[in-house]
Amino acid sequence: MKRKSMKLLMSLLVTASLLVGLTGCGSKDEGTKAESPSTDTQTEESSQPAESEESETEGEATDKIKLGLTIYSTTDATAGPVVNNMQTACDGMGAELVIATDEQNPEKEITNIENLIANGCQAVFCLPYADDSIPRIAKICEDSEVYFGFYWYDLSNEETHDVCYASKYFLGNIYEDDVWSAYTAMKTLNEAGASHIGMFGLPTGRTTTTKRDNGIAQACEEFGMEILVEDRVNTNTSDDAASSVESMVSAYPELDGIVIAGMTQTCLPGVIQSLQNLGMTEQVKVSCIDFNENQTEYFEKNSVNGVIGGHFTGGAWLAVLAVNKLQGTPLVDEPVSIKDEFIVLQSAEDAKNYDAHLYQELPYTADEYAQMSKKINEGFTYEDLLKVVGSYSIEDVMTRHNVE
């Protein structure tokens, strides 16, 4: 008798769950539309920006524009500043930022995007894991009527470019000159006297990877340098990178330089530690793309010769585009591709200045971001935004923030 009632209970629950699912398929779009209000509605209802504290406390909880960011981490020296800058931009313009992390692969990224949309985000931003994931991301956002954009991503692949630009929900992408960054990293090594290089690289399949590879190839040709060995696998932990360096050095005794063209956060400490243990810090020069927490110390110890990075404002620019769009005061009607600027560090002093004025203090304050909202500053235009983006440098920040 007990067994029968157990089975009945089980059947009821399973049936109920499946029915909920089935009903869900039946109303494919209705729910999403209800969840994600149209642009016009938000224009009416979106809260006033953070400038006025009073308005913030009065009902922002329900009316705030909600933006979503999916990113692999919120704390490391590369992803952390992206999050901090975007958060400050949202605070300044009166929007709410929801962050989803723990990205490991395309399916996790897709899940994050779905969850952000389910959470009520009206625009979501990501760094696509692969060009091939972009049509899927675009479809999810279109089905849900949610705006989307990409940071750190160059849409030079024609197919994915067309997919995005065909969508009325695509805001744009913020990209960096990855050919230039890789070329500059290699040039730094060349200036330090290195020509036989070991390389740590990003996984293939991304436009970023292709561009950085092109930059490295360009430098090799121009400066007569040679990539002896490359590793795109042992990049996820410092231990793996350290072991990889040991293998590189023993297989190629002539190796005199290492370029880290991505995954610097995990690779660089392992590379430096390994070279130090092998007593080869002087012999093997190191340069990398992307900043890390200990770069000042590494420069002081001459463990690193050049670091190219600081491209952490892309998320904030996407937030500026999204908030203005969702407020009904778009800066631009078409999707845009904005080039973010890199910062090149070549000395401990550069690293200290960066740390003090662009990392500990952010390059733009909430008030500065607030001025990029047309609701607050009616005269702000897309051209003004491009000027701000184009002038990004340590000197620019120090001048704007009156640093001696």
Binding site: E35, I110, N115, A118, S133, K139, S144, T204, G205, R232
Partner: protein
Amino acid sequence: MKANNEKKGMELFINIFPFISLIVVFAGFALLSGGRTLDMTNCRKIFEQSFTLLLVAGAAVFLLSQNCLDMSVGAAIGMTGVVAALVSKINIPLAFFAALGVGLLIGLINGVLHGVLGINAMIATLAMSFILRGLLLIVCKSGTVGIAVKMYDLDEVGLKLAVCLAFLVAAWLLFQFHSYGKQCRAVGAGETAAVQSGIRITFIKVISYVLMGAATGIAGFFTVIRTGAAMYNTGNMVEFDILIALILGGMPINGGADSRFRSAVIGVLILGILNNGMVLLGLDTYPQLITKGIIFILVLAMTFTIRNKINRGKKTA
């Protein structure tokens, strides 16, 4: 008499505990999120996010009921996904059969390693997982493999629901009513006794791994449809998600006669609702991981303690 009643009470509790957990999680998040978890679109997302886990957890019931593990499930999903992506550029139906074929082959090898050669299941499948991840790195060239654009058309929730229902119902019937399912539980209850009862353990084990392989093949195919690309770490950690789901669903970790097929469905639903609900409540990733870990330990500790008491009672009797 009193001891007997107490034992019956504990057995009843252990049986209904997964249902209570599901109801608590479902109702709790519905209340906390102001009903947002009940939104139809959200329910659809929970199903889509849980779809592949439902398939592989359903197949894993056969293995875990025999006290066997498959640590290569994630890597097998990655491999079948990559194969599906590569073959999809030639022919999409062929991509499905290629993924299924590769899954079956991986399952067969695992089955032979453990069932025929007698290598410990965890070690054998762990080794298989390393081999598959290595192959994935070679095939993917440390990057991603995209699918044919037309394959996106298959990303329909109706199709997934049909596949999922068909697979789960077939697996449930097999596990609950067919002699094969009963033999799986008998093997988990005690291999020696099973052998003496005339059960062909080798055959049972090989078939179970082959079934798991079939599930990974289907899961890999639908994973790449969902994401548009397969990567060398596609399917990463799925084997642990399966374990967590089955334990949350009330599966005894040592398998045996108490194994129930419903553990897979209930466990995956609990996990899906839990993951989704925490996101809807705006919980950051790190508190999410901590919360999941704590819930898992609590459920495990509680069910372990109660099961031990029940088993001690049985021995005493």
